[in-house]
C-alpha cells in the first residue's frame, strides 16, 4: 500500500469535516468536494483544496463517480475517504478508485459487494457459524414458498428486500393472510427502490434491541472488535440515540457477539472499519447485516475506547497495523450520541433553512461533531443531520444527567430540530431504566 499524503473526502456535512480534522491531525492534506449548494459549507472552508463537482442534486454531485475521481486527479489527491452514505458502500466506486491509483479508505470492493447483498451476507454469516434469524435461505420467489417457510419458523415473520435497506421493501406479517397480501407489495417496492424484486423472509422479533459490534481489520490479518453500540432508539429504522456499552449486555454476551463479529469478518478477509448489526432479544443475538463503512454513530465507540476510528481507518488504509492495544479489551465509562436533525421533532418533516442561533454546550464529557454554524443555511437537498451531541461519563447515570444539562444548553434557532425530542427521551422512565426495544419510539409519548 502506498503512503497517503492527500485525502479527498467524497462526502459533505459533519462527516466530511470529521475526516478533514482527522487528516489535519495526521499532517495530511485534504481535498473537499462539494455541490453548488454547498459552496458555503464548512468542510469546504477547512480543506486545503476544494472542487465543485456538480449541481445540488446528489446524483450529479456527491454520487457522481467520474466527477469525484476527476477531482482527485486535478488536485493530486492519492486517497479517497467516502464517509458514510452516498458512495460509501458502492463497490464500483471503490474499484474505480483503485484502478485510478487512489487508495480507497475502506474495505475492498469484494467485501463491500459480498456484504452489500443481504441474502449473501446472511448466507456468509450462517456458514461462518454466526447466529442468524431463522428464515429462507436466500430469496423466496413465490407466496407458497414464503408461506411454507413462515409456517416452519412460526409467525410473525418479516419480508425484506435482498438488495435493500432503510425500511423500503420491508413487511411484517402476523399471519398467513397478511403474508399473502404483503408478498407482492414487498416485491414491487423492492423492485422500484433497488432494481431487484428479490425478497427474503425471516422470523420477526417483537421487542428486539438493535445492538451492533464495531469491527476493525488491518492488512496484516488482524481483526478486532471494539465493543457494541446499542442503537435501539430509532424511528422508522432511522437511529436517533446510540450508546455504548449497551445497558443489557453482560461481559459474556459481549464476548460472544464480538467473537461472532470477528468470525464473520475473517470469512470475508475484512479490512478497515465495519459494523456488524445484530438483533438482540431474550439473551439471544441474531446477525442482521454488515455495514462496510464508518458509521454515523462511531463517536460513541471512540469515547469509550479512546481510539480515533477515522484516523485508524487512514492508518490501516495506508498499510499500517492497527494501533489498538493487544490484550484484554474493555470499555471505559459510558457514552451516548444524540443525532440532532433539522426536522420537526413531532412529524420528523425535514426543516432546512437558516440557522439563526447556534449555541453549543460545553464542559466535561461533552463533544459536538457538526459542520453547522450560526447563519449557515441548511440546503434542502441532503439529509437533515446537522450535529451530533456525544456525551461521555463514568457510568450511564452520569451520562444521562450530563445529557440533560447539555441538551438544555444546546440552543439552535431558525430551524426546528430534534433537540426537544431528545430532551423528552432522556427524561423518560423506560429510557432511564435502559428498558427499551427498537419499538420504543412507536410507543413513546410526549
Amino acid at each position: 500500500m502506498p503512503a497517503i499524503s492527500k485525502v479527498l473526502i467524497a462526502n459533505r456535512g459533519e462527516i466530511a469535516l470529521r475526516v478533514i480534522l482527522a487528516c489535519k491531525e495526521m499532517g495530511l492534506k485534504t481535498v473537499a468536494v462539494h455541490s453548488e449548494a454547498d459552496r458555503d459549507a464548512l468542510h469546504v472552508r477547512y480543506a486545503d483544496d476544494d472542487v465543485c463537482i456538480g449541481p445540488a442534486a446528489s446524483r450529479q454531485s456527491y454520487l457522481n463517480i467520474s466527477s469525484i475521481i476527476a477531482a482527485a486527479e486535478i488536485t493530486g489527491a492519492d486517497a479517497i475517504h467516502p464517509g458514510y452514505g452516498f458512495l460509501a458502500e458502492n463497490a464500483h466506486f471503490a474499484e474505480i478508485a483503485g484502478e485510478c491509483g487512489l487508495t480507497f479508505i475502506g474495505p475492498t470492493p469484494e467485501a463491500i459487494r459480498l456484504m452489500g447483498n443481504k441474502a449473501v451476507a446472511r448466507d456468509t454469516a450462517q456458514k461462518a457459524g454466526v447466529p442468524i434469524l431463522p428464515g429462507s435461505d436466500g430469496p423466496v420467489r413465490t407466496f407458497e414458498e414464503a408461506r411454507d417457510i413462515a409456517q416452519g419458523i412460526g409467525f410473525p415473520v418479516i419480508l425484506k428486500a435482498s438488495a435493500g435497506g432503510g425500511g423500503r421493501g420491508m413487511r411484517i406479517c402476523g399471519d398467513e393472510s397478511t403474508l399473502q397480501s404483503a408478498f407482492d407489495t414487498a416485491r414491487n417496492e423492492a423492485e422500484r427502490a433497488f432494481g431487484s424484486a428479490d425478497v427474503y423472509i425471516e422470523k420477526y422479533l417483537e421487542h428486539p434491541r438493535h445492538i451492533e459490534i464495531q469491527v476493525f481489520g488491518d492488512t496484516h490479518g488482524r481483526i478486532v472488535h471494539l465493543g457494541e453500540r446499542d442503537c435501539s432508539i430509532q424511528r422508522r429504522h432511522q437511529k436517533l440515540i446510540e450508546e455504548s456499552p449497551s445497558p443489557v449486555l453482560n461481559r459474556e454476551i459481549r464476548q460472544a457477539m464480538g467473537d461472532a463479529a470477528i468470525k464473520l469478518c475473517k470469512a470475508v478477509d475484512y479490512v478497515n472499519a465495519g459494523t456488524i448489526e445484530f438483533l438482540f432479544q431474550d439473551g439471544e443475538f441474531y446477525f442482521m447485516e454488515m455495514n462496510t463503512r464508518i458509521q454515523v454513530e462511531h463517536p460513541v465507540t471512540e469515547e469509550v475506547t479512546g481510539i480515533d476510528l477515522v484516523k485508524e481507518q487512514i492508518r490501516v488504509a495506508s498499510g499500517l497495523a492497527l494501533s489498538v492495544p493487544h490484550g484484554d479489551f474493555f470499555l471505559r465509562g459510558h457514552a451516548m450520541e444524540f443525532r440532532i436533525n433539522a426536522e420537526d421533532p413531532v412529524t420528523f418533516a425535514p426543516n432546512p433553512g437558516k440557522i439563526r442561533e447556534f449555541h453549543l454546550p460545553g464542559g466535561p464529557g461533552v463533544r459536538v461533531d457538526t459542520a453547522a454554524y450560526r447563519d449557515y443555511v441548511i440546503p434542502p437537498h441532503y439529509d437533515s443531520l446537522i450535529a451530533k451531541l456525544i456525551i461521555r461519563g463514568k457510568d450511564r447515570a452520569e451520562v444521562l444527567a450530563r445529557s440533560r444539562r447539555a441538551l438544555e444548553q444546546f440552543i439552535i434557532e431558525g430551524v426546528k430540530t430534534t433537540i426537544p425530542l431528545d430532551r423528552a427521551i432522556v427524561n423518560n422512565e423506560r429510557f432511564i431504566l435502559g428498558d427499551f426495544s427498537t419499538r420504543f419510539m412507536e410507543e413513546f409519548e410526549w
Binding site: E36, R39, D40, C52, I53, S66, S67, A70, A71, E73
Partner: protein, 190 residues
C-alpha cells in the same frame, strides 16, 4: 475514448445576476423562505426594488435607501470598493471573493458564458502539437468543439451551445477546472 458533452447554459453560479431573472418565472407560489431569499438577494446585489404580483399576493422589496441605489449599473464606472478586512478564517464564507467577482461580472453584461459541465483538466487543443480549437475573436457556431476537458483519461469535447464570437477564454491551457467554472465568454450573434 471521446465523449461529446454540450455545455449547459451558465446557470451554475447562483450568485450571477445575468441569469437571475429567469429563475423567477419558474416560481409558482412564493413561500416565506423564498421571500427571505429575495431580501438577501436585493441586499447582496444592491438592487433598487423587486416587485412580484401573483394572484392574491403582492410582494415588494426596496433596496437600501441610504446608499445610492444600484439598479443593474454594470457600466463599470464605479470604482471597486476597498476590500473588507479579511478575518483569519471566518466560518461563514458567504462573502468569499465577492469584490473580485463584481468587476468580472460587469464586463460580462450581455455576454453568454460557457461553463464547464464536468471536473477535469482544460485543454485548448486536441493534442500538444495541434492548433487551439478556438481563439479570442473567433466566430463560433452551435455544436462546434471549443476545448477538451480531460477526466479519468477521457478526453471530453466541450461544444458550444450558441452562435457568436469568443471574447474571452478563462482558463489557461492545462489548468484544472471544476464543475461550473467559466470557460468562454461569447458575444452572441444578433
Amino acid at each position: 475514448g471521446r465523449t461529446a458533452i454540450t455545455a449547459g447554459h451558465g446557470t451554475s453560479c447562483p450568485k450571477r445576476s445575468t441569469l437571475f431573472a429567469t429563475s423567477w418565472s419558474e416560481v409558482a407560489e412564493l413561500n416565506f423562505k423564498e421571500i427571505l431569499e429575495l431580501i438577501d438577494k436585493v441586499a447582496d446585489r444592491g438592487i433598487g426594488a423587486v416587485e412580484i404580483e401573483q394572484a392574491g399576493l403582492k410582494v415588494r422589496i426596496e433596496g437600501k435607501s441610504s446608499e445610492p441605489q444600484v439598479i443593474h449599473s454594470y457600466a463599470g464606472d464605479r470604482p471597486a470598493p476597498p476590500p473588507a478586512p479579511v478575518p483569519p478564517a471566518p466560518p461563514t464564507p458567504a462573502e468569499k471573493a465577492a469584490t473580485e467577482k463584481a468587476a468580472e461580472d460587469a464586463a460580462e453584461v450581455g455576454l453568454h458564458i460557457i461553463t464547464s459541465p464536468i471536473v477535469g483538466t482544460f485543454y485548448r487543443s486536441a493534442n500538444p502539437e495541434s492548433e487551439p480549437f478556438v481563439n479570442v475573436g473567433d466566430r463560433i457556431a452551435r455544436g462546434q468543439v471549443l476545448c477538451i476537458v480531460e477526466a479519468m483519461k477521457l478526453m471530453n469535447e466541450i461544444e458550444s451551445d450558441v452562435d457568436g464570437v469568443v471574447t474571452r477564454i478563462y482558463p489557461q491551457n492545462g489548468q484544472p477546472i471544476e464543475y461550473g467554472e467559466k470557460l468562454f465568454a461569447v458575444k452572441l450573434s444578433s
